[in-house]
Amino acid sequence: MSEDIEKTVYRHDDSDLPPHISNVKRFWLQLCQNPLAFWGLILLGLFFLTAISGTILTHGDNPIMDPEQVRLVDTLKSPLSKANIELLTPKERPLFDIYFLGTDKLGRDVLSRALQGAHVSLLVGFISVGISVLLGIILGALAGYYGNYVDSIIMRAVDIMLCFPSFFLILTIIALLPASIWNIMIVIGLTSWPGIARFVRAEFLSLRKQDFVTAAEALGLSKFRIMFVHMVPNAIAPVLVSATIGVASAILTESGLSFLGFGVPPPDASWGNILADGKEFIFDAPWLFIVSGTAILVTVLAFNLFGEGLRDALNPKLREL
């Protein structure tokens, strides 16, 4: 009799488990429920395509579309106008002999400049956020895991960083350093980690109390393994969200810097400096202003919307349902 029961008690079959749904599919379902996030994702896709094609088309010694080509015969041409083929050397002629988005005061093709700008924005957004995410995760993890003095020191550093008005601090540092796009990325990265460190620390503090971390300690796993293999993957969700939104704000910061004349040094184009150039010709050549402004707006919007969608899709509370 008792053996019988034993058998039934420990009987097992797969049908005990609920239907298997992979995490990716669940995530996708959540994302699709939020129309704003969905459109954000589509816009992001377009942005990546533009930025990558921008990199391909405008780089190299002899680019297909040269954003730096000055054509004094074709200044401030309106969009879709034909190039002045008779007066241009073959090298100066734009792709298809048409200025799709017009030209600026030096006769440079706005489309190719905007494409290069997309490339710059992508670079700035991802590298600076990469730096801040890396710093934020490491410092936040250390603070949250070790607590005590380590935590006090790191959190004091965060408090201090948060006291400085970040945009002005960036301006200050950029003004002291030699102008280069790399310096901009590093400075934006180094000034925007505190937010992420705070998130990671908060996650770590709650993870620290969870039993699976204690279990890992009881199994004699190393601290490094516990922190970076067990805890970080569980703390990554809010980081992803704030990183996505961080890319948006890095792009915005860069364009602000460029607008004020401290961004990407000429002759390289960025959306910010196209816009700054355009403001002088706001009535004569509004396209300069509108193209670059809209490009910034749409890209930043896409990142922000997608970030918010991620927040919902990764939210464990919503996932329960």
Partner: protein
């Protein structure tokens, strides 16, 4: 209670000390010796470095540099490169100019963001919620300089109202009413532009906070008591949802300078942001460094004040630490 305040104050003093070190050591980023100048760097010439070395006593040992800099700053003998005026008085004057812009902006932000956020949270997924969500993102993503130019064109073209500067130049003697009217026009547009992004961000926070609070068990209790909806949401939920925003108050102060650099430069508003921008253009290092320091001090003061308010507002804190 006193010990809580005291500890908080001491902590803030320590933070202030580190802030002073950091805002001073930013100058170290510049090449320290004329011989180190990169000939490709147009920002520094030999003369620039010489001037920098003098102003910041770069020949002395580090701690002396630090001491002398802050001694000069606080005795108001640190002079601006540009016009040889004492830096601290300059900053103070510009601070007073920025203040109205900041106050109006903050007022607009807080007055609009809260009703919007609360409304959106209570009518989740409604048309109102969806449209405020979209417009928040729109305004968060809209570069302020882009919006500023668009609205200047709009105002000047359609209303024919001058908006650049503190007041319209050359009309000082046209009567008090006109003056006030003119001033207000000049004030409203820049502060509104500054506020747009703030409203958008803050209303999102308020919405999120409110949504979280109305999921709590005690809201269910309040409903189970049969309280009317208004009482459930505007008494029980709101009070809990608003608590965290008291601490946020301190963090809006960076906007006083950082966020206003662009707006103030576009509108030629002689405030702190504009001062900073001009100083950077003119490489007026004493002003730049001091401005960073002063701004950080203001933020610190703001967080201290909001900590005190928070303590007063949340029964859980004030009583435990009494």
């Amino acid at each position: 209670m006193i010990s809580f305040l005291g500890r908080n104050f001491v902590e803030k003093l320590i933070t202030l000390f580190f802030i002073s070190i950091i805002s001073f050591s930013v100058v170290m980023l510049a090449p320290g010796d004329p011989s180190e100048i990169d000939p490709m760097n147009p920002k520094f010439t030999k003369e620039d470095i010489q001037r920098l070395r003098e102003a910041f006593d770069l020949d002395k040992p580090l701690y002396m540099q630090y001491y002398l800099y802050y001694k000069k700053l606080f005795t108001n003998t640190l002079l601006s490169y540009k016009d040889n005026q004492p830096v601290l008085s300059k900053i103070y004057e510009r601070f007073l100019n920025s203040l109205p812009l900041f106050i109006v902006g903050t007022f607009l932000t807080w007055c609009l963001a809260f009703p919007l956020g609360i409304h959106a949270a209570l009518r989740r997924q409604s048309f109102f919620d969806r449209s405020t969500t979209f417009f928040s993102y729109f305004f968060i993503s809209l570069p302020s300089f882009f919006l500023a130019y668009l609205s200047i064109i709009f105002m000047v073209k359609f209303f024919n109202v001058p908006v650049i500067g503190l007041a319209t130049f050359g009309r000082e003697s046209v009567g008090i009413w006109y003056m006030i009217n003119d001033r207000i026009w000049h004030l409203v547009l820049p502060s509104m532009l500054g506020a747009f992004a703030g409203i958008a961000i803050l209303s999102r926070y308020v919405r999120g906070q409110m949504l979280e609070v109305i999921e709590q068990d005690y809201i269910r209790t309040a409903k189970a008591k049969g309280l009317p909806d208004d009482q459930v949401y505007y008494k029980h939920a709101l009070r809990n949802a608003l608590l965290p925003f008291i601490t946020m108050f301190g963090l809006v102060i960076p906007g006083l300078i950082g966020g206003s650099v662009i707006i103030e430069s576009i509108f030629a508003w002689p405030g702190m942001g504009r001062l900073g921008y001009d100083a950077i253009l003119a490489r007026d290092y004493p002003v730049i460094l001091s401005l960073n320091f002063v701004a950080a001090c203001l933020v610190l003061l703001g967080t201290f004040v909001s900590d005190v308010f928070y303590m007063a507002a949340d029964p859980r804190i004030s009583i435990q630490d009494k």
